[in-house]
Amino acid sequence: MDSSQLLKGVLDLAVLAVLKDEDGYGYDIVRRLRAAGLHDVGDASVYGTLRRLFQSGALTAYVVPSEEGPHRKYYALNQAGERQLADSSGVWRTFAAAMDTMLKEVAA
């Protein structure tokens, strides 16, 4: 099992978590996820996830004009997104705790 399998299930949660601190645009979010330790995350997956979350109503989007470069589309958590983040992180914590318990015996 490599981390990309895990990531598929959890990327929504990761993206929501990143956006909770601060709004971001596509590539910015990719960089932040990698900086947090998720090195295997694919650019395309992040963009696709952003779009899906936006479609499902968890994010709002706005365009920021820029003097020097292209206009960027920024995403932000809305109320539904905050709720989804809270629910999903609860599910994650329970799951991670269970896994940790089971793996206590296994050498790291």
Binding site: Q5, Y25, G26, D43, A44, S45, Y47, R51
Partner: protein, 333 residues
């Protein structure tokens, strides 16, 4: 797309979009909205080519769709493997495997440029069907019993033009329309194969076309037994059991065919049934012809051929009445 500062980025972007052509245009545009800026930013980091950093554009497109929820390609998340999914997957694998034999990643890619040629053929096949069903007579069908050639030509032109137009129009159409068109194409192709197979078996198109008799100056045949007696109403078959139809039938003053031919038109000789004017009868045979046993003519046919040898029952050719051949061998010697 706005011109980017980099050919590499433009190519990559175009390739990603090309892998998403099956999506509606609006969806494709939304998905790739941020792509150009993304690519330029990645290039600006200077950590290698786009393909090195992001993977192949086809893979990028696949990941993008999967994450956007447009295609559940997740291995672990296969809801139900219905027949359609299994079928499509099998087709895709066959496509890739066959593609490799012609040096391409997918066979379908190599066949795409041939599509317009198929559209022309498809139109022609439909025109043939409209003109004469399965009776194909040539490039330009003659419509109906009157063999109306100008009408047939017009029909071919209309059908070919319509087929090609449909082919181009359907390029951007929703998948249900393209699927329907593919089904129709398959039906047309299968029907054409059936017709061609049927025609090749009967040695020419179906009814209404009779092969002209062999022209070697023979107008009638007279068959004599070994005693020198003329065999009336003789029927002659080759080694495959096919009737040998030679000569020219005779007609009386009123234009009616005289003499007797069997129901399906097989000739029985002599055609003119008039002993007067025929050749002089040869005398009886004095020596047995080598190889054949003339006393049991029913066993004469060489091995392996219909008419089936020893039995006096009807030889293989169709249409012959169930009455055994005339005279001698009915006793089954």
């Amino acid at each position: 797309m706005t011109a980017l500062g980099s050919v590499e980025a433009e190519d990559y972007c175009a390739a990603v979009r090309a892998a998403l052509t099956d999506l509606p245009a609006s969806q494709r545009d939304e998905l790739t909205e941020d792509l150009p800026d993304h690519l330029m930013e990645v290039l600006a980091e200077g950590e290698g080519s786009l393909i090195e950093r992001l993977g192949r554009p086809e893979q990028y497109a696949a990941d993008l769709r999967a994450a956007a929820g447009l295609e559940t390609a997740d291995e672990a998340d296969r809801p139900r493997e219905d027949l359609l999914t299994v079928g499509r997957r099998w087709l895709r694998r066959a496509d890739e495997r066959l593609g490799r034999t012609v040096g391409a990643s997918r066979l379908s890619e190599q066949l795409v440029p041939l599509a317009p040629a198929w559209w022309v053929v498809r139109g022609w096949i439909v025109a043939q069907w409209l003109a004469n069903r399965g009776d194909w007579q040539g490039i330009v069908p003659g419509v109906g019993d009157s063999r109306n050639a100008p009408l047939g030509l017009g029909l071919v032109l209309v059908c070919v033009v319509a087929s090609v137009w449909a082919g181009f129009r359907l390029r951007g159409a929703p998948s249900w329309a393209r699927a329907a068109s593919a089904v129709i194409s398959v039906i047309v192709a299968l029907w054409a194969i059936v017709v061609l197979a049927g025609n090749s078996q009967t040695g020419g198109s179906g009814g209404g076309y009779v092969a002209p008799p062999v022209d070697n100056g023979i107008t009638d045949l007279y068959v004599y037994d070994q005693s020198g007696n003329l065999v009336p109403h003789a029927r002659i078959f080759d080694q495959n059991g096919n009737p040998v139809d030679m000569g020219q039938p005779c007609y009386d003053a009123n234009g009616n065919q005289i003499g007797v031919t069997s129901v399906n038109g097989d000739y029985s000789y002599p055609l003119c049934q008039s002993p007067v004017g025929g050749p002089a009868a040869p005398g009886p045979l004095t020596a047995t012809p080598s190889g054949a046993n003339p006393s049991t003519p029913s066993t004469v046919p060489p091995s392996g051929a219909a008419p089936t040898g020893a039995t006096p029952s009807t030889p293989a050719p169709t249409g012959a009445s169930t009455a055994p051949p005339p005279a001698r061998s009915s006793s089954g010697r």
